[in-house]
């Protein structure tokens, strides 16, 4: 049996198709792949086959994209800038390697009417600019499908990506601050040399004006986010970290300007530029972590399909989901998502509701049963009667609940903010006092002394104390597979005294029950080795479980691996094509057997080889985490949607005393309010869409990396390594960060207490003031660098960063 040259799938018996690429005939499996190869070769892009590192997806040219030309649908997704210019952003499934990006750029770029093609393989996006009079959206989508990619048009607001604008603006600000700081320092060196060796006042003033020239864009352009933030907070009658920073920058800058004008003692243009630069570096790092998490959240775009097949008097028509109305009957194919809430119309089928319930086993639905938008039909096609659409669906309701819960979250009184703002107020009072006192005794020295107080007491160290410690902690944790999306989350994690767990998918993961698995042909070890070889590189929890069970076996090499969403994996080992996954997928011909519905079935073309029984077992690292939490005197609790008997068994097995079962998202939120009423600071650990509202409402939400996108969006911390004991380290780092934060703040306070009185009495020469100011900031940064990786006490193996790849089946 040979494999298809294009997609790597085995060529079925009796298919005698050949396609000529680069002058050599190759066997292909279907007309779709043949057409893709001939087209690629015809464009002179045959190099793609040499460069690619992954086989292409099976080219399916049978999908009809003409519905995308409906004006109702195109309006939402295509932005028309001019009669001959339109733009659209597509999320691409199957964009696997850079060769794919290269292929798309070149192949789509040759189509008539296409102006420009931009491919971002990291975000799996394609930006297309085209002439709507010469090329229609459906032809472009069909062309991508012909190459073997599945395009999902994003809504038009994705074209002006806010994230892209934000990151461009940040990088520009950083560059201006960095270059400005370098120049300002060079001029400052000349001035410092002048203080010791003597300098002509004219030359000195010249250098000061130069400093002013380079510091002005830094303050007025680069530091604008700090001023905007402070202004926003002031209007809301609050103070945040931006307030002292903005004050410090404005004061030092204006004071230096005044000193330059009146030929005073010293200027600080270099310090203010450096200060802005350091702060911006911290901000930019934080922003990048947030964006990386945001790319994942965009997977939400694919939770709900954009098209639906509506039944009409004479057949079916494809319409946009937003055109559906209650009462419509829609048809859904196997492996597709349900577009709207409704009830099953014609026949029974298995439906994967893991998205909403978090339960991994598929539910068997009878005609008349309610089904929920976003869940996946495993056997099809089926018809449903639409009941609720758009904003009325359960999924939309949960999304709303997340947004509301996040906005109602009480913020912990932030330590640093409170102290820094108190400090700023006191410095102001002191400055006014100094000026007043000197006005009485010696008016000519009043301004210089007041300025000295301001500059020496510069809240730089204060302003740097928090970002320096947080930035360091975030980068240390990122290396350990813990992504901190929200800086407040660390402080909350350090203070948390009650941890709430979801059960399925969080505390537990599926494992293979070898004792109860049935083998039809060969031995259990042989079957396991085949199954594990097929599941290499798959991030689904069941795949990991299979690999774990086969850890001691030698695996053969599988190729042409294909992940069929919602069903399983197919691949070729030693010329034999195998399938593993749900019964319906792997063993199409086998008899329906409802008892084995949640088993994993391994089959080849001759039938079933083995059925692996799946059971729940605690996730790796759970016992370590619970032991550490109990030792620290932290309360633990399970809130699960599962049945009481199973939750109780799991709770007892793990030694968790408090548990509640059969809870809906709203019940979980209610319980959270109750706990908070008792004065607890709560950390919630979960993975499903049903956990998302609670994750958003908890003081700190921690989402498992393989969990649902909505859960990620609602959380402050993501575990990209699948091990729960990473939380132990995260907690240790968070606590140490808090300690470092306090040290930083105390140091800044101590330095100021010592220096300010001296400055007020006029004892501090300018060079010493500048030196002290820089030294106090450097001490803060060095102290923050002491937040290092935590030594592992329990486990030697490295954390495997499994990445946050969404893969769902069964």
């Amino acid at each position: 049996m040979t494999a298809c040259f294009h997609c790597g799938e085995p060529v079925p018996n009796g298919v005698e198709l050949r396609a000529r690429v680069g002058g050599i005939d190759h066997a292909v499996c279907c007309r779709g792949c043949e057409a893709a190869m001939l087209w690629i070769d015809g464009l002179g892009l045959a190099d793609y086959y040499r460069l690619r590192t992954e086989p292409a997806a099976r080219a399916d040219s049978t999908v009809d994209y003409s519905a995308w030309d409906r004006p109702q649908l195109a309006r939402m997704h295509v932005r028309v800038d001019a009669p001959d210019r339109a733009a659209v952003v597509l999320l691409i499934d199957g964009l696997r390697c850079t060769a794919c990006a290269w292929l798309i750029e070149h192949a789509i770029g040759t189509l008539p009417g296409v102006h420009d093609v931009g491919v971002n393989a990291a975000a799996r996006r394609v930006h297309l600019g085209f002439d709507p009079s010469r090329a229609s959206l459906s032809t472009l989508l069909a062309a991508l499908a012909k190459l073997g990619f599945v395009p999902h048009p994003l809504t038009a607001d994705a074209i002006d990506s806010l994230r892209e604008q934000e990151s461009r603006a940040a990088i520009k600000r950083l560059a201006v601050a960095g270059l400005g700081a370098m120049q300002a320092m060079m001029y400052a060196v000349a001035l410092y040399a002048g203080v010791f060796d003597g300098i002509d006042p004219a030359v000195r003033d010249f250098f000061r004006w130069l400093g002013f020239l380079v510091a002005t864009p830094v303050v007025l352009y680069s530091a604008r986010p700090f001023f905007a933030g402070a202004q926003r907070e002031l209007r809301a009658r609050r103070v945040s970290m931006d307030t002292p920073v903005a004050f410090a920058i404005a004061l030092i800058y204006l004071a230096s300007l005044i000193e330059t004008l009146r030929g005073g003692l010293d200027i600080y243009f270099d310090s203010v530029s450096m200060f802005v630069f350091f702060l911006l570096v911290g901000r930019t790092l934080e922003m990048r972590a947030r964006h990386r998490a945001g790319d994942i959240v965009d997977a939400l775009a694919r939770l709900q399909p954009t098209l639906a097949e509506r039944r009409t008097a004479n057949g079916y028509e494809t319409v946009g989901v937003h055109e559906l109305q209650a009462g419509d009957i829609v048809r859904i194919a196997a492996g597709a998502s349900i577009p709207a809430d409704g009830s099953l119309h014609d026949r029974q089928c298995a439906i994967d509701e893991s998205l909403l319930s978090g339960e991994s086993a598929a539910r068997r639905c009878q005609p008349g049963d309610a089904v929920i938008a976003g869940s996946m039909v495993l056997e099809g096609p089926v018809e449903i009667t639409v009941k609720r659409v758009g904003a009325d669906t359960v999924l939309a309701g949960i999304v709303r609940m997340v947004t509301r819960a996040a906005s109602e979250k009480p913020t912990l009184a932030r330590l640093a903010d409170a102290r820094a703002s108190r400090f700023v107020v006191r410095v102001f009072l002191l400055t006014v006092l100094t000026a007043a006192a000197w006005l009485v005794f010696d008016p000519s020295r009043a301004f210089a002394a007041a300025l000295a107080v301001l500059v020496v007491s510069c809240p730089c160290a204060f302003a740097l104390a928090v970002p320096a410690a947080l930035t360091r902690a975030v980068s240390v944790l990122a290396q350990r597979g813990v992504l901190v999306v929200d800086g407040n989350a660390l402080e909350a994690l350090a203070k948390a005294d009650h941890v709430v767990f979801d059960k399925t998918g969080t505390l537990t993961e599926p494992s293979i029950d070898l004792a109860h698995s049935e083998v039809g042909r060969g031995t259990l070890d042989q079957a396991l080795a085949i199954a594990a070889a097929l599941e290499q590189g798959n991030t689904h929890p069941l795949a990991a479980a299979l690999r774990g069970s086969a850890a001691t076996l030698t695996l053969s090499n599988a190729h042409a691996l294909h992940n069929h969403a919602g069903a399983g994996v197919s691949g070729v080992i030693d010329g034999v094509r195998y399938r593993i996954g749900t019964r319906a997928f792997a063993d199409c011909a086998g008899p329906a057997d409802s008892t084995a519905d949640d088993a994993l079935v391994l089959a080849d073309d001759q039938g079933v080889i083995a059925r692996f029984r799946v059971e729940e077992q605690p996730r790796a690292g759970v016992t370590e985490l619970l032991a550490a939490l109990h030792e620290a005197g932290i309360g633990t609790e399970i809130l699960s949607g599962d049945s009481p008997a199973r939750v109780e068994a799991m709770a007892q097995g793990l030694g968790i005393r408090q548990w509640r079962a059969a809870m809906q998202p709203a019940d979980k939120l209610e319980r959270l309010r109750e706990l908070r009423g008792q004065g607890h600071v709560i950390a919630m650990i979960g993975d499903g869409v049903n956990d998302a509202p609670v994750l958003a409402a908890a003081d700190v939400g921690i989402a498992i990396g393989s969990g649902a996108a909505l859960a990620h969006a609602a959380s402050g911390i993501l575990l990209s390594s699948q091990r729960l004991d990473a939380i132990i380290e995260a907690r240790v780092v968070a606590r140490r960060t808090l300690v470092t934060l306090r040290q930083n703040l105390n140091w800044a306070l101590g330095y100021n207490l010592a220096a300010v009185p001296l400055a007020a009495f006029g004892f501090v020469p300018p060079w010493l003031a500048a030196l002290g100011m820089s030294a106090s900031s450097i001490v803060v940064i060095l102290n923050s660098l002491r937040i290092g990786p935590v030594r592992r006490a329990t486990r030697a193996s490295a954390v495997v960063d499994a990445g946050i790849v969404q893969a769902r089946y069964a």
């Binding site: 002179g44 190099d47 850079t98 070149h106 040759t110 393989a121 520009k172 560059a175």
Partner: protein
């Protein structure tokens, strides 16, 4: 010392040029995706554009 009157404006001009060039690069999507382009030289290594792809451009 008069030389600084020439050198410093020169350095400022270079600074302005550097900032302008950087802004141009950012605005032309040079910093939007820092991962994909890093790999593309590896794959472009042996590609000699064939006649057809030249026609395409």
């Amino acid at each position: 010392m008069n030389i600084i009157l020439l050198l410093i404006p020169l350095s400022l001009a270079l600074l302005a040029l550097a900032v302008w060039a950087f802004f141009w690069a950012v605005n032309h999507a040079q910093f939007d995706d820092l991962d994909t382009p890093a790999l593309s030289p590896l794959s472009d290594d042996e590609i000699a554009p064939t006649a057809a792809s030249k026609d395409a451009e």
